[in-house]
């Protein structure tokens, strides 16, 4: 089984994000692997260990992704592809999906595993669109993957009505959520070996795709501006005698907030 995993470099959401004049202030930002993609990498590595799968990752855009890709190598991914091109700057989910489609078609993969969304956009579209472009079955929000045979996997998905158990014919695309696993920390031996591994860097022309209408890969949306989120102010905090302050808060919920 050949697995393709996608990894995106995203802004670290734990840090303060400032907005000025419609744009995010770059100063002070740090970039990390998208957390849900780290779960996708871990899922792929577990399938390598338990089911002899071959693992390849692909990362699109992000500039210098060497450290992130090496980290994934250290976790156990065998091959890495980095698609980088100035034309990707305005890419939206359909464009990412079209680029992934080209990568997929060159590689004879059986299974694509992506994170359920990227933390920079929180869109959650790319993996599903990739499957739709390829005409492949797809399950999103997956919390478990079991290999049944060479042509089938069984996945569990968190849906609106409960946990759905779905049998998928390969090739297929799944998007995973963080409940699926706890990504491993790279060990020293893996880190050392990762340093020697090559990364296959290519631009869009090498993939045979351009970002325009001719390929059906033009962006369908653009971010006009960023705005600061409406932040909640810290309200009233009560300390002291539990009975007294709790009674006080309940009466505020009734009389001031009108929610009880």
């Amino acid at each position: 089984m050949k697995i393709l995993t996608t990894v995106k470099k995203v802004v670290d959401v734990e840090l303060t994000i400032r907005v000025q004049a419609g744009a995010i202030v770059e100063d002070g930002l740090q970039y990390v692997i998208n957390a849900w993609d780290e779960n996708a990498v871990e899922a792929a590595v577990q399938l390598k260990e338990n089911n002899n799968a071959e693992t390849t990752l692909v990362s699109i855009g992000g500039g210098d992704n060497t450290d992130m890709i090496r980290k994934c190598y250290a976790m156990g991914i065998e091959k890495g592809i980095h698609v980088e091109d100035p034309a990707l700057e305005k890419a939206d989910s359909p464009v990412f999906a079209r680029v992934l489609q080209k990568v997929f078609e060159k590689g004879d993969y059986d299974l694509v595993i992506t994170g359920k969304q990227a933390q920079d956009t929180d869109s959650g579209q790319t993996g599903i669109m990739l499957a739709e472009y390829l005409g492949l079955p797809c399950v999103s929000n997956v919390i478990d993957i079991q290999v049944l045979d060479d042509q089938h996997i069984k996945v569990s998905r968190l849906g609106d009505a409960g946990t759905e158990i779905i049998e998928l014919e390969l090739p297929a695309v799944v998007t995973v959520t963080d409940s699926i696993n706890e990504p491993r920390l790279p060990q020293m031996r893996g880190i050392m070996m990762a340093k020697k591994k090559p990364i296959d860097v290519m631009d869009l022309s090498a993939l045979g795709i351009s970002i325009d209408d001719a390929d059906g890969a033009a962006p369908t949306s653009e971010i006009v501006e960023f705005m600061a989120s409406k932040t909640r102010e810290a309200g009233q905090k009560f300390e002291g005698d539990a009975a007294q302050i709790t009674a006080q808060v309940v009466s505020l919920l009734v009389d001031e907030a009108n929610v009880l």
């Binding site: 359909p94 999103s140 009505a161 989120s229 009233q236």
Partner: protein
């Protein structure tokens, strides 16, 4: 006049309020509205679809649609969108909507925008507002395609008063079954419990409740208040709460009138799932817990002491 198709949000054979909220918003921006309802034995929902404020009701009613499967579900929506010649297709915020929207967008060659909190028509373009980066920023996004498929964030729109619709039912042909993704089983969520997404009050537990005893203590409070009972990630990972109870970016995004965070420190992913709540009450023994930065009311104290008092005080006023 723009034409907006709203996908009916149906759970446990009932039409959810979000359907009315989306149709109200569509009506308020002067659109001609239609709704598409997908499921099995849903004929009884038709009056509700009309009353929710729709001018046309597309109905796909088939035993094969009893359990959600993204492929057939998306086909029904795309079919209705083509028949209605919709400019915009709006899904409620749900796992079904999030799974189907990108598929419908590809099938219609439309743009796709998820988690939108507002929509406006600006000149020739449709623009949407949506949060990104775990709600830390908002984006204004211009749609450069003729059609847009959107997933509307929970609580973004309000239901209008006194809306009415017109009954005009169009029956859709049942879609093909997805033979490459076969749903073998649905392990249903515990029935009879209050849905987090609908609840007017949501009470969630975090690491501070420690174990099953703590969970049960807070659950009694939730029961008293007929509140939805949620969880932070820690208690799900610990096996004390079910996956479907998790509030946060992974899990349910809620926006109730009152959210009570009991023993929850307030990790960014959790905050992103509940900071749209109208009023937030936090109980935590750590005065420095980040949850207090977003709480309207904070009680610094031992929850094992505070929760029983909270129950007793609330009982006094709720009899």
């Amino acid at each position: 006049m723009a034409k907006i198709l709203v996908v009916a949000d149906i759970k446990n054979d009932a039409l959810k309020d979000s359907t009315t909220e989306l149709l109200s918003k569509a009506g308020s921006i002067g659109a001609e509205t239609a709704v598409v309802a997908i499921g099995s034995n849903i004929e009884a929902l038709i009056p509700g679809l009309v009353n929710a404020g729709s001018d046309t009701q597309y109905v796909a009613d088939d035993p094969a649609l009893a359990i959600f499967s993204a492929g057939p579900y998306a086909s029904c929506v795309a079919d209705a969108a083509k028949q209605f010649e919709a400019d915009q297709i709006w899904f409620s915020f749900s796992e079904s909507g999030k799974a189907a929207a990108p598929r419908v967008a590809v099938q219609l060659e439309a743009a796709c925008a998820t988690e939108i909190t507002d929509v406006a028509i600006s000149g020739e373009h449709v623009e949407v507002i949506r949060p990104a980066i775990a709600n830390k920023v908002m984006q204004r996004v211009r749609i450069n395609a003729g059609q847009m498929v959107a997933v509307v964030r929970a609580g973004a729109f309000e239901a209008a008063e006194g809306i009415t619709g017109t009954e005009n039912v169009v029956t859709l042909s049942p879609p093909a079954v997805d033979v490459k993704a076969v749903v073998k089983e649905l392990i249903s969520d515990a029935s009879g419990e209050i849905d987090l997404a609908d609840a007017d009050i949501v009470i969630s537990v975090g690491r501070g409740v420690k174990d099953q005893t703590g969970v049960d203590l807070v659950k009694e409070l939730a029961h008293d208040l007929k509140a939805g009972f949620g969880s932070s990630r820690a208690m799900v990972d610990g096996g004390f709460m079910a996956h479907n109870k998790q509030v946060g970016q992974t899990g349910k995004i809620v926006a109730p009138s009152l959210y009570m965070a009991i023993g929850i420190s307030g990790a960014i992913q959790h905050l992103a799932g509940m900071n749209g709540s109208k009023v937030i009450l936090a109980v935590n023994k750590d005065p420095e817990a980040p949850i207090f930065n977003v709480a309207d009311y904070g009680i610094v104290g031992d929850l094992f002491e505070v929760v029983p008092i909270l129950r007793a005080e609330i009982k006094k006023i709720r009899i």
